[in-house]
């Protein structure tokens, strides 16, 4: 599947912001066997005083921009062409939780894909007895890791209500879980906390959904902005499996991956520090157009 992807994020500050420094993670990832970045450009207006393009620890393309002078309006535009080959796993080769723990302990690796990074609490995802208990309630004896991932994802999709505005970007997962409502970021953080709580390494994925659904299928939630979902480590054979709890499905070719991390803090599309006295407005426009019918 080929996609043409367009994203525009614009900010406007009431009182011009000075000394702005931002970290952008907007460019889709190249993932061997899953996703190819055929072409891509990120333009920033006004032109920043400094721009550094690099990859972060998890391999995500990262752009750091600096404005020394006050900036009143800031526009980030992304154009990219992506080939997406990933398929949802069709075979469950994953172990049960006890085996998974042993498999995990036998992996002597610290690389970006090593599951050890995704097992404990991370900056935005504290583990909580409440969410762990909820996750345990979904388990049945002998379930495989992949079954658990699907089961917990499905349960969350059933018990949570998608509601824009019920939470904000800084709402802790436990608060959203207690209220049983939120958006894709909340769904993903809660699912990560649940999975880690029962011993399955889990991380956060940010990216895009195709905006026009295939014929006869409903439009997915979260297609009008950047989206987020979950990846879980299901043992050495299945490896990392992606699951979208907001839409209750195993991720395949409709999702385009931008960044991987432990939680939102690692992959935030725009992370920034600036001093401004007044408020700010921001707007996000997304278009994800399939180029060939699949």
């Amino acid at each position: 599947m080929h996609y043409d992807l367009r994203l525009e994020i614009s900010y406007s500050y009431d009182s011009p912001a000075s000394n702005g420094r931002h970290l952008l993670r907007l460019m889709p990832l190249a993932l061997p066997g899953e996703q190819t970045l055929l072409d891509g450009a990120l333009t920033i207006s006004p032109r920043p005083d400094e721009r550094h393009d690099r990859r972060d620890f998890f391999g995500n393309p990262t752009t750091e921009i600096v404005f020394r002078q006050p900036v009143k309006d800031l526009v980030l535009s992304l154009r990219a062409r992506v080939r997406r080959m990933a398929l949802a796993p069709s075979l469950d080769l994953s172990p049960d939780l006890d085996r998974l723990a042993r498999d995990l302990a036998s992996i002597d690796a610290l690389g970006p894909d090593a599951p050890h990074h995704f097992r404990a609490a991370s900056p935005r995802v504290a583990l909580s007895p409440k969410m762990t208990a909820y996750a345990r309630d979904q388990l049945a004896p002998g379930m495989t890791a992949l079954q658990i991932v699907t089961r917990i994802g499905r349960a969350l999709h059933r018990d949570m209500r998608f509601e824009a505005g019920a939470t904000d970007v800084n709402t802790p997962p436990l608060a959203a879980f207690t209220a049983r409502r939120g958006v894709c970021q909340d769904y993903s953080h809660i699912m990560i906390a649940c999975l880690r709580g029962v011993g399955i390494p889990a991380g956060y994925v940010s990216g895009f959904l195709r905006t026009i659904p295939p014929d006869g299928q409903p439009r997915l939630e979260g297609a009008d902005a950047m989206h987020a979902w979950v990846r879980a480590w299901c043992g050495p054979d299945n490896g990392w499996v992606q699951y979208d709890p907001t839409n209750d499905l195993l991720v395949g070719a409709d999702h385009i991956v931008t960044a991987l991390g432990r939680d939102y803090a690692d992959v935030a599309p725009v992370r920034g520090v600036l001093r401004t006295a007044g408020g700010q407005d921001s707007e996000q426009k997304v278009d994800v157009l399939p180029l060939q019918p699949n």
Partner: protein, 851 residues
Amino acid sequence: MTEKREEKTRGAGLDDQRRATGTQGIGAQGTGAQGIGAQPTGAKAPGAQATGAQATAAERQMAQRLADMLAGYEARPGIADELRGPDGEMRPVWQQFMCNLARQSPEAISDAFGRGDKYLRDAGVFFRHYSEDASTERDWPLSHVPVLIDADEWAGIEAGLAQRADLLERVMADLYGPGDLVKSGQLPAALVAQNPEWLHPLVGITPPGGHFLHFLAFEIGRSPDGTWFVLGDRTQAPSGAGFALENRVATSRVFSDFYPRARVERLAPFFRTFRDALSDLRLGHDSRIGILTPGQHNDTYFEHIYIARYLGIPLLEGEDLTVEDGQAMIRTVDGPRPISVLWRRLDGHMADPLELDEGSRLGTPGLIGALRSGQLTLVNALGSGVLESRAMLAFLPAIARSLLGEPLRLPNIATWWCGAEAERAYVSAHTDQMMIGPALSTTLPFEIDATTVLGGRFRGTARPSIDAWIKAEGAQLVGQEAVTLSTTPAWVDGGLQPRPMTVRVFAARTAQGWRIMPGGYARIGRTEDATALAMQRGGSVADVWIVGDSPVAAPPPATSAPQRSRSGALPSRAADNLFWLGRYVERAEATIRLVRAYQLRLAETGSPDDALPAWLRAQAETIGLDLSQPVPEALNGLLSAAITCASKVRDRFSVDGWRALQDLADSARRMRRSAGAGDDAAQALGVLLRKITGFSGLVHENMYRSSGWRFLTLGRSLERAEQMAAYLAWLTAPDAPEGCLGIAVEIGDSVMTHQRRYRGSSNPVTVLDLLALDDRNPRSILFQLDDIRDQTDRLPGALRNGQRSDLSRAVLRLHTDLAICTPAELDPDRLHALRGGLGNLSSLLHAAYLS
């Protein structure tokens, strides 16, 4: 696997030994031996190799005194003691010291101890005590008797710690580089990846000089068999070196007669060497060094100030720094200035909100960018906190053999990670001899919290069972041998008592390799319970003396020229705080003067409802000042604000100035509670005025005319001019009641001059002439504008290529406008406009220098 088994064997060995010492503890056997030990020790006065028969009377008397003093000193059986060796005899290193102490009367000893305490109080040394809802500054808990260690024994410790420092450097380089220790299974991946101190954005960044670690501390203790061992490594931003210095100064005052001939290794050379080493790390000789502090709310902030002053290195906060094109810069009043070495006292994850803890307000956005570009050395590198976790101690002994090819010269506390099956089983089987706690905790073994198991029991909330806990959360837990620490003499209730102790030792990387500070900082337990070592739990601290055989050489006089000028450009944040300190103190003074004038009127008439007092109250209300309070609360607010500013620049502020300011605020708080209306309040306010003048005197008479002083004095002048303009606008207004002009003259502290010059007749013109336009009256607006003009002309960039700065032009314009004014033209509108002009100067100053 072999290595791990060896480790277990060692654990078991200690375990056997413990059982052996336990046996010794049963019955009176041990105590008896100690009791006997005291006698022969006492009989051995220094140099007294002679038998009792040949000893002189003086020697016999000395011996008796020593025996008396130590009679009550009974070390607990089965543990090592610093004063007495394994044979119960006093260790030779203590003999001269103890004789010297025994020679003095209890009163003299108590006086001497008082000298040390007084020094610490005068120097402003305190520590911050945290309770549930508050943190308070408490007196520094000095245990006056130092810990004495023989230089030969110390040499062994030095060699062991230097080896350990090398090992830690190798581990650090691997954890942020190739990661071979994990790949080869020598370190479990989970302990690194899940360690919150392992900062993944730093992976792959090698510091400019190639070294990650430059300044370390180790907590060491002596085990029952007399050997030393390491309880923990402090690799992130070790504190305490400054405290060690302060302890030394205080202790050398306590023993002022004895110390100079005591053959104690001096500390100063260590610090000099470290400072030179920091200087050598600079990239380019015009770039700077700084100490990066989290600021005044940190519990060791005092030490940061102290060490910054001692080494002559500026103390910086995250806000002082900015990064341009990968170069870290200090934001100064003279523009950005490059800096290439930061001695970091800030925890790693707080250092850069852009790439690390996004909520940190203490860090500098982009700092990691400077590290990535190789233009900045942090001492120590970010992420070095990963080495501090308790679990690391379980693996270091084996890693030493594999990386260094030799065993650790100083063992560390036996530690077992419960994430591995065999270790978990061992810990479960020996819970009664273990401390079991979080594997990734960086606190020291004796800093026990509620989640710790000690001696087979939970310290806090009970859990169902220790076994179940270890089984469920094994990977998050370590067991550590419940160690017994040695005891050392502490002065308790007029006599010497043995108390448990550990010593913090510091190591600095120099061109010649690791250098260990000869001495350190001992923690002394409040009780015999070793868990009461921490200061937060009532423990105290003592100096550590390394005593050699030969006299200590006096430090050589400095031969080289001073390496860097102290007059480096002033950081903008410091300038801002000094400027506002000046403003707040002056605003407080103006407030006091107005309130006093009001209270004096009340004292005269006794009636608050008369026209003048009522009018004054109404006017004061418009600026948020409640004159019905004899000492208004607003005044306390101003003084608190002044103290807040001063506390952010304490490294630039004399101890006397700081104390004067605190005394002022304390007095104002007391008077707020006690002073009654009228004469009583007027008297109290008079006292406050004299105190505030005392503070201003310190600033004016004693403060070096640095640019810091310039901003402080500019704040004061601008505020004084503004206040006077405001007061005059009220008090000379046509509708102001009778008596207002007198109040203006009184507030302007110009009663006598006015009397003399105008012979008693006062009208708006005479008052305005004296208080606004007289350039010889230090209370007048024009006088202050003269001063503002002189000071702003000396600010950096006031005149560039013959062109005046915006600020300089605005000052000139305002000054000229006022100077050509006649008193009659100065109506309230004009005064208000003048006030606006002064406010504009403040804004321009801010934009140009302070932000």
